[in-house]
Subunit: 333 residues, 2 copies
C-alpha cells in the first residue's frame, strides 16, 4: 500500500486537522464527537443542512461545509457510517432556530444512524427533516444498501439546498427541494482500478490489466458487470445509457451534467468523458445548461469516473448559481 | 495502460473538445494552431496573460483561462512544448492593446519556443514581456532544463498577475510582479508512483512497492534521490526542509502555502500533508496567510505531492484575493 499517510488509524483525524488548519475562518472542527461546521454557524433563522457518511469520499462532505452549502458534516471512519451522536451534536451546534435538514446517502448504516440522530434532536426540541439520496441506477440492492445507492446527486443536492436555505426558505421547502433534486437526478459509475482502504492495506478487489467494472459503488462494491476495457467513448455510452433510460425527461429539458473523478483520475480524462457525454445528451434532445467536472465524490484512490444527470428547473438553477464558499466548491463569494 | 482515453494521439484534442463543451461562455478553443482563450478576449486596455506548455499537467494551464487569470493557454502534445505559432497566434488574439505577458515554465523547449513567439509578436507590433518561472529547489539542472524547473509557483503567478492585470496595471508592472512572485516562490515534489504517457503505454519509471522518489519533476524526471517509503510526516519534512532552506524569509513573514496533488492523489492525503507542512512553517516563524490545497499542476496519473511556499506582500494578497472565474479556479465572481 503506497499512500501519503502516517498510520491507517490516524487518517481521518489527521485529515481533519489539516482541513481545520487550511480553512480556519471558513470552517471549524469539533471533536468527540467529530464534525466539521461552518465557522459562523448557527446562522439565526436559516435552515441548517447536516450531512455525513463514511470518510474516503473527500471532498464530500467536509469540503462542502461553508456559506451556501452545508452547515455541518459528520465524518465516520473510512467507509463506515458516522455514529448518531455525531449527527445529533452537529444538529444542535448548527441549528439556528429554523430547523435542520439531514441529507443522507442511502446506505443501511447511514440511514439507521441518521434516523436515531433525528429522533434525539427532535426529543431535544429541534425540528428535523431527513431526505435520503438514492440516485445510482447501477443496481437495485447492493452490499450495503436496500434499494439504490446514494452517489453523485448528493453533491448537487447539497449545493442546491444550500443555496435555497441561504435565502431563508423554511425547512419544509428546503426538504421538498432536496426530494425533488433526488427524484430528478441519476448517476452511474465505473472503475479502472480498485481503491485500497488504509487499514486493509490491499485493493478492495482485483481487476486484470484489461478489465474494468461497470456500475461500481463508491466503496468498491460490485457493479453490474466486469468487462474488458473499452475506449473512453464506449465507456461513456455504457454509463449514459442506463442513466438516460431511467431519467424522467423529455426532449428539450435542461440538465446539469456532472462528470466526476473517483479519486485517482486525472482531469484530462474527465474532459474526454465529458466530451462524449455531452454529445450523447445532445442526441437525446437534452439541453446541458450547467456542468461540473472534477473529483467531488470519490472512493479514496480508485481510478474511474461517474456521470450524474440532474434535470433542472428555474428554481434549481437559481440555487445552483447562488454564491458558495466552502473549501472545495466556491464561486460568487 | 488503463486510462479513460480513446487513442493516445487523440488525448489532447479530445480533452480540448470536452473543455470547450463544458465551459462555453467562459472560454473558447481555437484550432490549428491550438490554444484556449477567454471568451471575451481581447479586453481593451488590459495586459493579456499567455501561458502554455506540454499537456498532461491539467488543469494547468487551460483550466486557468478566464476572468482574473490567463487570457490564453497554449497546449503542446503531452509533455512536449507548444510550437511558436501557437503562442504567436494566441498573443495576437488576446492582445487588447496594452501588451502581452508570457509566463513560461523553465524547460528548454518552452523557453526557446516562447522566445521565438515573442519575436514574431514584437515584429507584428505587439508589446511582449516574458517571465520565466524556475521555482523547483530539487535540482539545479535536469533532463529538460538548464537551471531550475518551473513548477507550482507558476499557478500562483498566473493567479496573482491575472488579478493585477484585471486592474489595468501596465505591462511592465505586471511583468515585475511576475518576477517578484517567482523570486519569492519555492517548490519541491515527490512521487509514490510514476505516470504513464499515453503514447508510451508504460510507466515513465519503476518504483518498488517500498520506494518513493523525492524531488521529482512534473514529467517524471529523476529527482534528488530514490529512498524507502516514509510516513506522510517524514515526507513532508523532506519536502519542506529544502524549500525553507532556499526561501528568502525572516521570522514573521506571511506566506501562501500550496499543497498540490500530482494527479492520482486523493484529497484526504493532501490534507494530511498540509497538516504537517503548516506545523513546520509555524515552527520556522512563518505566518500562513493563504492556502491552496488540491491538484492544480499535475503529471497525468502520477501519485504524489508537491509543496510550494510563496512569501507574500500586501499587493500580492490583494491580487490573490481578487475575483477569478476560470474552469478550475474560481472565487468572488
Amino acid at each position: 500500500m503506497k499512500k501519503l499517510i502516517n498510520a491507517p488509524e490516524a487518517v481521518v483525524a489527521e485529515a481533519l486537522d489539516g482541513m481545520e488548519a487550511a480553512h480556519a475562518g471558513l470552517i471549524k472542527v469539533c471533536r468527540a464527537p467529530d464534525f466539521i461546521m461552518r465557522a459562523d454557524a448557527p446562522v439565526a433563522g436559516k435552515v441548517a443542512l447536516v450531512s455525513g457518511g463514511g470518510s474516503g469520499h473527500e471532498p464530500m462532505h467536509g469540503g462542502f461545509v461553508g456559506r451556501g452549502m452545508l452547515d455541518a458534516a459528520c465524518p465516520g471512519a473510512v467507509f463506515t457510517s458516522p455514529t448518531p451522536d455525531q449527527m445529533f451534536e452537529a444538529s444542535k451546534a448548527v441549528n439556528g432556530g429554523a430547523g435542520v435538514l439531514h441529507i443522507v446517502k442511502n446506505y443501511t448504516g447511514d440511514v439507521l444512524n441518521f434516523e436515531m440522530a433525528a429522533d434525539l434532536a427532535r426529543a431535544d426540541g429541534i425540528d428535523v427533516e431527513s431526505v435520503i439520496i438514492d440516485d445510482d441506477v447501477a443496481v437495485e440492492d447492493s452490499t450495503w444498501t436496500a434499494g439504490r445507492r446514494g452517489v453523485g446527486t448528493t453533491v448537487l443536492a447539497e449545493k442546491i439546498c444550500g443555496g435555497l436555505a441561504e435565502r431563508k426558505a423554511p425547512l419544509t421547502t428546503v426538504a421538498e427541494m432536496c426530494r425533488r433534486v433526488n427524484a430528478q437526478g441519476r448517476s452511474m459509475g465505473m472503475a479502472l482500478a480498485a481503491c485500497t482502504v488504509p487499514h486493509v492495506g490491499k485493493p478492495s478487489f482485483e481487476l486484470a490489466a484489461d478489465e474494468m467494472e461497470i456500475g461500481i459503488g463508491i466503496h468498491g462494491e460490485p457493479g453490474r458487470h466486469r468487462v474488458k476495457l473499452e475506449t473512453a467513448d464506449r465507456i461513456t455510452e455504457m454509463l449514459m445509457e442506463p442513466v438516460l433510460a431511467d431519467l424522467p425527461f423529455k426532449s428539450g429539458d435542461p440538465v446539469l451534467m456532472f462528470v466526476n473523478g473517483m479519486g485517482a483520475t486525472p482531469t484530462v480524462e474527465l474532459y474526454i468523458i465529458y466530451r462524449k457525454a455531452a454529445e450523447i445528451a445532445r442526441k437525446h434532445g437534452l439541453k446541458v445548461v450547467r456542468t461540473l467536472v472534477g473529483s467531488y465524490i470519490t472512493s479514496l484512490d480508485m481510478a474511474g469516473t461517474s456521470i450524474t444527470l440532474l434535470k433542472m428547473d428555474e428554481e434549481m438553477l437559481t440555487c445552483w448559481d447562488a454564491p458558495v464558499l466552502t473549501p472545495s466548491l466556491r464561486w460568487g463569494a
